[in-house]
């Protein structure tokens, strides 16, 4: 039996639900030697501002139990250089490209979106309103319902490309942010970005990251991320891209079952750059074992019916 792994994120059709997470896959081209980029559902490239950014000094990452903290600081080449230097090879390799963008102001988001709207070979724009590691922009917008609405609206006004706001988990009620994004005209949402966190070297009493705080990712955060996708699925009628610590096919399936149409793989790609085929194989085997024809049929299939306890006396 052949199974259908294709999924739709608004008007964007993906061959399979696996997307390389922004910030974890460079600009995609770095991985061309390890992976046939056209076999990924899509690639969310490293977050781009309008201009080049230096990022934070080292140390930029530190490991914690079952996860890692990062404070890279969105080092990047800026949107124009991305379009000129990275987009052509990505197009050549038939990669589906989701461009993650970030701004210090709402106008900056709109300006980047305008530039991307004029470029060929872009599947969607992911709005980074959730980076915990920068002083201006990013999570500042994503932690306010008004800010979320304004950024999404401003970008909506300048592009017909699918817009995917990436939500932060560092709020009390993530579902209300999904609703704000939906009302402002988003085509889909992705979640979660990393959890704001911190680690200290007790010998020196210094923070382990140069930025003092950073974002926690990896399997440690997965159960919280699954819960948040579950809440958003119940709150909005938009495709959801779920992520947070996916290491195995079962991890990915958890997100799909609670409502994610697609998933992003981030930290796991650092551990195993050849993970993509293993995950696809695992998803295929699961669908076959459960006699399902398409992964899309599994989205939001969480069984919440109350089971009666039964027993037999023997």
């Amino acid at each position: 039996m052949s199974v259908d792994l294709s999924v739709n994120i608004g008007s964007l059709k993906l061959a399979n639900p696996l997307i390389a997470a922004s910030g974890c896959f460079g600009y995609g081209v770095e991985y061309a030697e390890a992976v046939d980029l056209s076999t990924l559902g899509a690639i969310a490239v490293k977050g781009l501002f309008l201009e080049e950014r230096a990022g934070h000094p080292p140390a930029r990452i530190v490991e914690t139990p079952g996860g890692m903290l990062n404070a890279i600081g969105l080092q990047g080449i800026g949107v124009r250089r991305f379009v000129a230097e990275k987009l052509p090879p990505l197009r050549e390799q038939a990669a589906v490209v989701i461009v993650n963008i970030c701004g210090s102001t709402i106008e900056e988001y709109a300006e980047i979106a305008r530039i991307l709207d004029d470029s060929d070979g872009i599947g969607a724009i992911e709005l980074n309103i959730s980076c915990p590691n920068i002083k201006k922009g990013g999570m500042l917008f994503g932690c306010s319902l008004k800010g979320t609405h304004e950024v999404v609206s401003a970008v909506r006004n300048v592009t017909r490309l699918p817009i995917i706001p990436k939500l932060t988990p560092n709020v009390n009620d993530v579902a209300s942010f999904a609703v704000a994004a939906s009302e402002a005209g988003a085509d889909a949402i992705s979640l979660v970005n990393t959890f704001l966190a911190m680690a200290v070297d007790v010998e020196t009493r210094r923070p382990k990251l140069s930025n003092v705080v950073g974002g926690l990712s990896g399997p440690a955060i997965r159960p919280i991320a699954v819960r948040m996708v579950h809440e958003c699925y119940q709150a909005v009628n938009l495709p959801i891209i779920g992520m947070g610590g996916i290491m195995t096919p079962d991890d990915a399936l958890e997100f799909v079952i609670v409502g994610a149409s697609a998933v992003q793989i981030g930290t796991a790609n650092f551990v195993d750059p050849f993970i993509w085929n293993k995950l696809l194989q695992g998803l295929t085997e699961y669908l076959e074992r459960h006699q399902l024809e398409a992964v899309s049929g599994l989205v939001g299939s969480l069984d919440l019916t109350v089971r009666e306890t039964t027993w037999t006396n023997s």
Partner: protein, 274 residues
């Protein structure tokens, strides 16, 4: 071609209470490895620690038929992963991704090659010494450790006809003091007409001092920097080094892709040492 091998441990030779050499069956990586390149390694430890660790390729191994059979790693126990690697036995498995990174540039036959190693910084120099010897290049190893118990493979380098300048912090072997001592003396004694290539790997302050010393005598140094790495493939931007470019501009460069070998003169050392 990049390869990820579930490499079998061929042997684990314990050199001291802190150091060991782990031999891994990874012919696919070994056959393409160049001096200065590294592998990303993860023992079978589940999600703790989660990430791989970068290791210089210490030796390219050959089997009884002289066929390339694997690589070895010079390991020093400092954290969880290195302690796990210290305790492995033959038959265990280690995931091993590589070869990665830019190699050392090879010295020319008309040049002398000086390798400056501190502690576990010896790791990239054995394969380099083999390559230098095959080109019959006059090579010297300046090698420093805390004591005589911390200097390894000295005889193996001698057999490659590498000149040795050994130093120990406690004076138990070779020159008493730091590796920069004999290096400075040798730089003074060098005939001005001699062309020289210097390579360095060790603690960051040592590589900085070597770079400063060599620069004062008009020489470049190829340093092998050991940054904290997330992926080794350019995906995460964790392992950056501040590099000064022609014209004076400085930016953060990924040491996994553009390194780990850099010209020491280009490194902004103040930005590297915390």
């Amino acid at each position: 071609m990049l390869t990820d091998v579930d490499a079998v441990v061929l042997s684990n030779s314990i050199l001291s209470p802190a150091y060991n050499v782990l031999s891994l069956a990874a012919p696919q990586i070994a056959s393409r490895a160049l001096p200065g390149q590294f592998v990303m390694v993860k023992p079978d430890c589940g999600n703790d620690p989660l990430l791989r660790r970068p290791f210089s390729i210490f030796e390219v191994l050959r089997d009884d038929n002289h066929q390339i059979s694997g690589i070895s790693l010079l390991n020093k126990q400092v954290g969880v992963t290195t302690s796990t690697l210290f305790g492995l036995t033959a038959g265990d498995n280690v995931r091993c991704l590589g070869p990665l990174g830019r190699p050392f540039s090879m010295a020319k036959r008309s040049e002398k090659a000086w390798m400056v190693a501190g502690g576990v910084g010896l790791a990239p120099f054995y394969t380099l010494a083999v390559a230098l010897q095959s080109q019959q290049i006059d090579s010297t190893l300046f090698y420093g450790g805390q004591s005589s118990r911390d200097l390894f493979y000295v005889e193996a380098f001698r057999q490659l006809r590498v000149n040795l300048e050994l130093t120990t912090d406690d004076g138990s072997l070779g020159h008493h003091g730091q590796v920069t001592g004999p290096l400075e003396r040798s730089l003074h004694e060098l005939k001005p007409t001699t062309s020289l290539r210097i390579y360095a790997c060790g603690p960051t302050p040592m590589m900085r001092a070597v770079t400063k010393l060599a620069s004062a005598h008009g020489h470049d140094v190829e340093v092998s920097l050991e940054q904290i790495m997330g992926c080794g493939l350019g995906g995460c931007y964790s392992c950056v080094v501040p590099i000064r470019h022609e014209g004076g501009s400085v930016n953060f460069v990924r040491s996994c892709l553009d390194g780990p070998i850099f010209n020491g003169r280009d490194v902004v050392w103040d930005g590297l040492e915390q």
